[in-house]
């Protein structure tokens, strides 16, 4: 993937920006233009920062198909893909990730639609209504009409970050996270909605709860929600 000459320059400490004008790297500049920033993250991981959710999916796909040597896991998120290694990252890894060619995720598998029955009685619902300057009723109406999509997983097994909330429901997290949020809690934070698959600590605003089983390690697949799944909330409260 990386030419020896590039590797030697990289190990010699030549910065990426110094190489941009090099005619030999025309095929590479395209990737530089896509703006991958790579952060060192301790001595076993690198964090790739990208522009948006489609880029996250494309970087994840590329690294699933061509893993780095010793790649132990990938953690896709909102603007980043964390690459966890079983060894210390090298300058060569950083270079490889900077010039990674994004790949479109496999399509063809029809994205499932999941309808979640929700009782909207969350402890933060009144505060959420206040923050948005609307009635509780209006907030619930909005949450039950919007079509959400699982952008990525994370936080806990079976937890999906659901994108597609209207702007007025983009809310800050709580200043101090709760040490225990009950299983099935439906919650909002930033541009995302989510459902806590089991009791865990959490800093999101709690608006309701569902009885749906989000995750079962003995089920195949274990997670009800995986990236690409469409989700609707149905008010059963």
């Amino acid at each position: 993937m990386i030419r020896l000459r590039d590797a030697v320059r990289m190990l010699a400490g030549t910065r990426w920006s110094d190489r941009r004008g090099d005619a030999d790297h025309g095929g590479v500049n395209r990737n530089a233009a896509s703006g991958f920033r790579v952060h060192l993250y301790g001595d076993r991981a690198l964090l790739v920062e990208v522009a948006d959710l489609p880029a996250v999916a494309a970087v994840r796909t590329a690294l699933e198909r061509s893993p780095l040597p010793g790649q132990r896991d990938l953690v896709p998120a909102a603007r980043t893909v964390l690459v966890v290694l079983d060894r210390a990252p090298s300058d060569l890894d950083v270079a490889t990730l900077r010039r990674l060619v994004p790949q479109a995720p496999a399509s063809g598998t029809a994205a499932a639609t999941v309808e979640l029955p929700v009782v909207f009685d969350g402890v933060d619902l009144a505060e959420v209504a206040e923050l948005t300057g609307r009635s509780v009723r209006a907030v619930v109406a909005e949450l039950t009409t919007v079509e959400l999509t699982v952008a990525f997983g994370g936080f806990a097994p079976g937890f999906g970050y659901l994108s597609g909330l209207p702007d007025d429901l983009h809310l800050p997290r709580r200043a101090t996270p709760r040490t225990r949020v009950p299983a099935g809690s439906v919650a909002l934070a930033g541009p995302f909605a989510g459902v806590y698959p089991q009791a865990s600590p959490g800093g999101w605003q709690l608006v309701g709860r569902t009885e749906a089983v989000l995750f079962d390690a003995d089920r195949d697949p274990p997670a009800l929600l995986s990236p690409g799944t469409s989700v609707r909330f149905r008010d059963v409260g």
């Binding site: 896991d73 980043t80 936080f155 806990a156």
Partner: protein, 283 residues
């Protein structure tokens, strides 16, 4: 087979943890002090991936139901076999019916018991680890539990005792800059690496909540949630940092100021509430 007679405050089964399921939010988990767990496995000739028992603050008592080779490592809990003192950091043969008990360690928190052949409970998503955050893996041990032990053929290791550096209740942990250092005031890094910190009671296998100087943020906007690693030192808006351990969530939404080196994670995992610690910047 081992029978659990007492489990102390918390005893769990642990191995190297789960890999490859992060995209659906499955954390790694695994032994909090991986170095001690690894040593225990080596002392009985196990594969590094064999599952061991991780006791917390002593109190574990188990009875061997057949002849087994075991080793105890980590926080130096006094070890007895049928009431008689037994060696630490060393292989030890238990006869059928023998009862091994761990006292309360004078320093450190987590003590490991490896059994030759490994604790052979059914794996969940490729690991036998109990993940206290997600609930995956076997439940924490309770009196009366019967734990299957694998069978390992071949030569037993020939070791008297492993030399191990004593634990400190005020260790210096080496840190590397985290990916979001610039989200904190420039003074935050200085405060982190020059001041003393205390482990608060609100600490567990997920992470250590630390008390110390207030760390203030340079940016008040929301950080999009992103992946976490063990050793990540995250700063919530209240300014009290959390140092993540083995059962950390897969992602988090607060900036990570620093990351403790992998080599110093075992020392972090041995800290108990009230212990002090400090951080030293790696050049």
């Amino acid at each position: 087979m081992l029978t659990v007679l007492a489990a102390g405050p918390l005893t769990t089964v642990q191995d190297l943890g789960r890999s490859g399921f992060a995209a659906i939010g499955v954390p790694r988990s695994g032994a909090a002090d991986a170095a001690s767990a690894g040593l225990a496995n080596r002392l009985v000739g196990n594969d590094p991936a064999a599952a061991v028992l991780e006791g917390t603050a002593g109190g574990l008592r188990v009875r061997a139901e057949r002849t087994v080779l075991v080793a105890v490592t980590g926080a130096p809990a006094p070890v007895t076999v049928d009431g008689r003192a037994a060696p630490f950091d060393a292989p030890l043969t238990l006869a059928p019916g023998a009862v091994l008990a761990l006292g309360v360690p004078p320093v450190g928190l987590r003590t490991y018991l490896a059994v030759r052949g490994g604790i052979d409970v059914p794996p969940v998503l490729g690991s036998r680890s109990t993940d206290t955050l997600s609930g995956l893996g076997p439940a924490p041990l309770a009196p009366g539990d019967r734990l299957p032990v694998g069978v390992l053929h071949g030569e037993e290791p020939f070791v008297d005792v492993a030399p191990v550096r004593p634990l400190s209740s005020g260790p210096v942990l080496r840190v590397l800059p985290g990916p979001r250092r610039e989200w904190l005031d420039p003074e935050a890094w200085t405060a982190l690496t020059t001041q003393e910190w205390t482990v608060t009671a609100d600490s567990n296998r997920v992470g250590l909540r630390l008390a110390g100087p207030q760390l203030t943020r340079a940016r008040q906007d929301e950080l999009p949630s992103e992946g976490l690693v063990p050793g990540a030192l995250q700063v919530p808006p209240d300014g009290a940092p959390v140092l993540f351990l083995a059962d950390h969530p897969v992602t988090g939404g607060y900036p990570v100021l620093a990351v403790v080196t992998t080599a110093d994670l075992p020392a972090a995992a041995q800290l108990r509430p009230g212990d002090s610690l400090s951080f030293r910047s790696l050049p």
